[in-house]
Symmetry: C2
Amino acid sequence: MSAPAQERPHLLRIGDLARATGKSSRAIHLYEELGLLQPATRSSGGFRLYEPGAVERMRWIDLLHGLGFSLQEMRGVLENWWSSEQGPAAMEELRVLFQRKLEETRESIRRHRDLERELMEGLAYLETCRACATPAAPVKGCVHCTQDHGMKEEPALVAGIMTSPEPGHRSGRGSFVRVEDIG
Amino acid sequence: MSAPAQERPHLLRIGDLARATGKSSRAIHLYEELGLLQPATRSSGGFRLYEPGAVERMRWIDLLHGLGFSLQEMRGVLENWWSSEQGPAAMEELRVLFQRKLEETRESIRRHRDLERELMEGLAYLETCRACATPAAPVKGCVHCTQDHGMKEEPALVAGIMTSPEPGHRSGRGSFVRVEDIG
DNA sequence: TCAAACCCTCACGTACAGGTTAGATTTAGG
DNA sequence: CCTAAATCTAACCTGTACGTGAGGGTTTGA
């Protein structure tokens, strides 16, 4: 069983930290390699031992990951911070960084809302197919569907599927049609 | 100059398609390899020639990519569609799929809004550092900052940086401190 | 006819964030 | 003491979505 590291009772072993944060120990190893998190010390046998604050650091990593930071970028933030001479100046840099991320996040929200709209249009279109005039027709028929779908154009989500012919199987030289063999 | 393929005036060469969609020709090659898009034909010399509908297909790929589909998944959608016997049934499958994606998209919007809030809290906290009582202090001082930041706890974005000691450089066996050498 | 664009097919490289062995060691509990 | 569980290092594998040449053909306009 996992008895939270007895040598120093308040220290966590890697498995404890992993469970506490929902990450794998491999991930924690990786974060260490990349300079994102160091164990406070090691056991006499070499086991990593973490202070509870490591859990905060891990959450922080998760948070920044969600914001689109790469692990390298996080390392940059950390280095930048800890190598800074003046506290408030470092704070200012962070502020600028977060401000930028805030805008990116809002942009991302906008984009996702566009996608949401796109999906809703697509769904509205497909709704109408439930009352299709030719229920047993093969899909190829849909390409020339004359039914009224209640909108001027097919939504991109649906149009993109039908505008091009079905994709062939694995491509590969050898069996393509020369254009002058067609006309 | 790029004169849009003369053999059949309405056909696009790969470069035209690339420019029309903002993708690289390499990407288009890739889509073809993965069965997402086939050229309508080839020129006598082997150049890929696309119908205008290919632009729609490309946009569709982009759209689904934004929704978190992988290229393989898109291929699945396409295959599923074109191999379906009954049009409306295929439409129904699509509908279910898009419905699921719609929920995922909304979930993603929720998550991003949480991140937005997190960022705003972090920024509010850092704002107050501009009026720091000890402006010339090194960042290590911030860890024990006693200034009033107007909130009960440090926001996770800031706390995660300060709770753990600065990350060492490249980790590597050999120079860690045995726990019993400390006390 | 000729050169500048353009395109072809391999085939290997890249970045990201880990997963997955493997073989050896350490720790905790009975 | 002995064993099962946890951990250690090292090194290679995965999947995604392309990028980047190399080496050589094709188109096109002048």
